[in-house]
């Protein structure tokens, strides 16, 4: 599903260059559940942004489903984000003025799905994360765990085959975090490819493969669970 070769990402801040990734090569197969761990500043988020087509690498190539993604223009990247990738953030990133249901609908809006169909689909996804009774709540009326579940429903709505989550439980208490992890496990069993960045070894333990990053380099790749 994913193949990256020698991925390099350099940030320029004035005259200083920060090498966030210094040549990462890896492959992730369809249906894998992968955890990415590493100390703060090791380049985990940067890698996720590149995999999520939110950013473009300075060097190296990225193949998604066999086709070269690095070097595509912003419209093509937007289409991939819309059709293939569901991103889950640490800070949920729901739109505060939209209800849970409307937030979940959003990817379908940009896919050009008609209102009736997308409402139906969004309800299905909310049901899948167990929040059908909160459909008309605003994010501010939901707990952190519930907000993250809405965010996951949103990632599912666009029929993403690849779910990328950057510290999805970082802002949650242990119990809510565990609910989110259960959800990921379930999605994985349903056949989705999942990549989760985490500090939490409990989270890492759920995955079937552990990638270790350090100073922008991949220093470990092991099967677990």
């Amino acid at each position: 599903m994913i193949r990256v070769e020698n991925l390099v990402k350099t940030y320029r801040m004035g005259s200083i260059e920060v090498e966030a990734l210094r040549g990462v090569t890896l492959e992730i197969a369809r249906g894998e559940f992968v955890a990415v761990v590493g100390p703060s500043g090791s380049g985990k988020s940067t890698l996720m942004h590149l995999l999520g087509c939110l950013d473009t690498p300075t060097r190296g190539s990225y193949y998604l489903d066999g086709s070269l993604v690095s070097g595509l223009n912003s419209d093509d990247l937007a289409r991939i984000r819309s059709r293939t990738i569901g991103f889950v953030f640490q800070g949920f990133n729901l739109l505060p003025r939209l209800t849970a249901l409307e937030n979940v609908e959003l990817p379908l809006v940009y896919q050009g799905v008609n209102p009736t169909a997308r409402r139906l689909k969004a309800r299905e996804c909310l049901e899948e994360v167990g929040l059908s009774d909160r459909a008309n709540h605003l994010p501010s009326q939901l707990s952190g765990g519930q907000q993250q579940r809405v965010a996951i429903a949103r990632a599912l709505a666009g029929d993403a085959s690849l779910i990328l989550a950057d510290e999805p439980t970082g802002n949650l208490d242990r119990r809510s975090g565990r609910e989110i992890l259960d959800l990921f496990s379930r999605l994985h069993r349903a056949g989705r490819t999942i990549v989760v960045v985490t500090h939490d070894m409990e989270v890492a333990a759920r995955a079937h493969r552990l990638l270790r990053l350090q100073d922008g380099l991949l220093v470990g790749d092991e099967r677990v669970g």
């Binding site: 990133n93 739109l95 003025r97 940009y110 666009g158």
Partner: protein, 390 residues
């Protein structure tokens, strides 16, 4: 995203900042209101003047004779004979005029005296309300008879019947034989504050006995043209100076008036339009603030699949809605204003659908135009940077 839900979305975000949106729209509202009101008043004035000119009577030619140096004396007879041989002329009325003081008993009134003949009534479409107009015999026999305008009657007689009474005009007695029907006020001055006497009897009353004005009524539009040409030629020969006289046809007057008032209206509208541009800058300002405030929202939308053009469209629609909402208020305000101001100055304001529609489109256009830059900025935001924005 379809247009309808995009517009609804725009309304939603405009409504979350009601006061701010309202203050922004005021700029556009005032601009549109000013344009609408000024154009409506301008067009109302134009229509009013046109109808006044048209009420002068159709196929009317007015010849103003200024003379050349001291050579101003064109006699009544001479003026009358200018057109008497032309079959295209229905009637012609030479007029000598002067300011005079009229007196009845102890009452005095300064007014305008016209010395003319029976044809003036035909040519200018004048009706008498009581009594009669001048008759040919009055002119031939130098009868001291007078036809009074409504204002003169009111000033001298109040509600008493003036017919058969004697009034003194500059000290000379004239018998009142008729009262004009109300004429209204036209470009020619008040048609009610005047007194009409036979041109032959006016001779002692006017400083210069020269005919200053000749009214000619043509048979039809074509006739008017022929008569104009003939008069042009004859008067040129008579005065040897093209500036000594001027011939106005009604069409020409209408054209001139239309041109002048249109230019005036356009100028006023343009000045008012400047305030629309100021309003547009207000829209741009607030859209820039909105884009900055919603950087994170933009990042989220992009992260889940919005293309640059989706974001561009969202903000363009928002500023267009802002503009056209302001414009709509402005149209309502402008129409009210035009009506009030029109009532105050005695003009019926004319609100043409074209101007109202144009103002709406224009204000939406101002919104779009001044939204382009903020929206482009929003669309170009880098998703990662936008998501980091606090």
């Amino acid at each position: 995203m379809n247009l309808f839900s995009a517009v609804r979305l725009a309304f939603g975000s405009i409504m979350t900042n009601k006061l701010r949106s309202f203050l922004t729209m005021i700029g556009v509202t005032i601009g549109v209101a000013a344009v609408i009101a000024l154009v409506a008043i301008g067009q109302g004035t134009q229509r009013q003047i046109r109808s006044q000119i048209e009420s002068l009577g159709s196929y009317l030619l007015t010849v103003n004779i200024r003379g050349r140096g001291a050579d101003v004396a064109m006699t009544y007879r001479e003026a009358r004979d200018l057109t008497s041989d032309l079959p295209q002329v229905v009637a012609a009325a030479p007029v000598v005029s002067s300011s005079v003081t009229t007196k009845y008993g102890t009452r005095e009134h300064d007014t305008n005296l016209l010395g003319t003949d029976q044809n003036l009534a035909v040519v200018r479409g004048m009706d008498v309300e009581r009594g009669r107009f001048l008759a040919p015999l009055d002119v031939e026999c130098r009868q001291r008879v007078a036809v009074l305008g409504q204002d003169v009657v009111r000033e001298l007689f109040g509600f008493a019947d003036p017919i058969g009474q004697e009034v003194k005009i500059n000290g000379i007695s004239f018998l009142v034989v008729g009262v004009l029907a109300p004429q209204g006020t036209s470009m020619m001055g008040s048609g009610d504050d005047q007194i009409i006497v036979p041109v032959t009897a006016a001779r002692q009353l006017v400083e210069s006995s020269g005919v200053r004005t000749l009214y000619v009524k043509g048979r039809d539009a074509e006739g008017v043209e022929v008569v104009t040409a003939v008069l042009e030629q004859r008067l040129s020969r008579r005065f040897k100076d093209p500036d000594a006289f001027r011939i106005f046809s009604q069409t020409q007057m209408l054209e001139t008036v239309t041109q002048v008032t249109s230019t005036m209206t356009l100028m006023l509208a343009a000045i008012a339009g400047i305030s629309l541009i100021v309003g547009g800058i207000g829209v741009m300002n607030i859209m820039l603030v909105t884009v900055t405030e919603r950087t994170r929202e933009i990042g989220i939308r992009k992260a889940i699949g919005a293309r640059n053009r989706d974001i561009l469209r969202q903000f363009l629609i928002e500023s267009a809605v802002l503009g056209s909402l302001g414009g709509s208020f402005g149209i309502v305000m402008g129409l009210l204003l035009a009506r009030l101001a029109g009532r105050a100055i005695g003009v019926t304001a004319v609100a043409s659908p074209l101007v109202v529609g144009g103002a709406f489109v224009f204000s939406a256009g101002v919104g779009i135009l001044f939204g382009v830059y903020p929206a482009t900025r929003a669309a170009r935001l880098d998703p990662i940077q936008a998501l980091r924005f606090e």
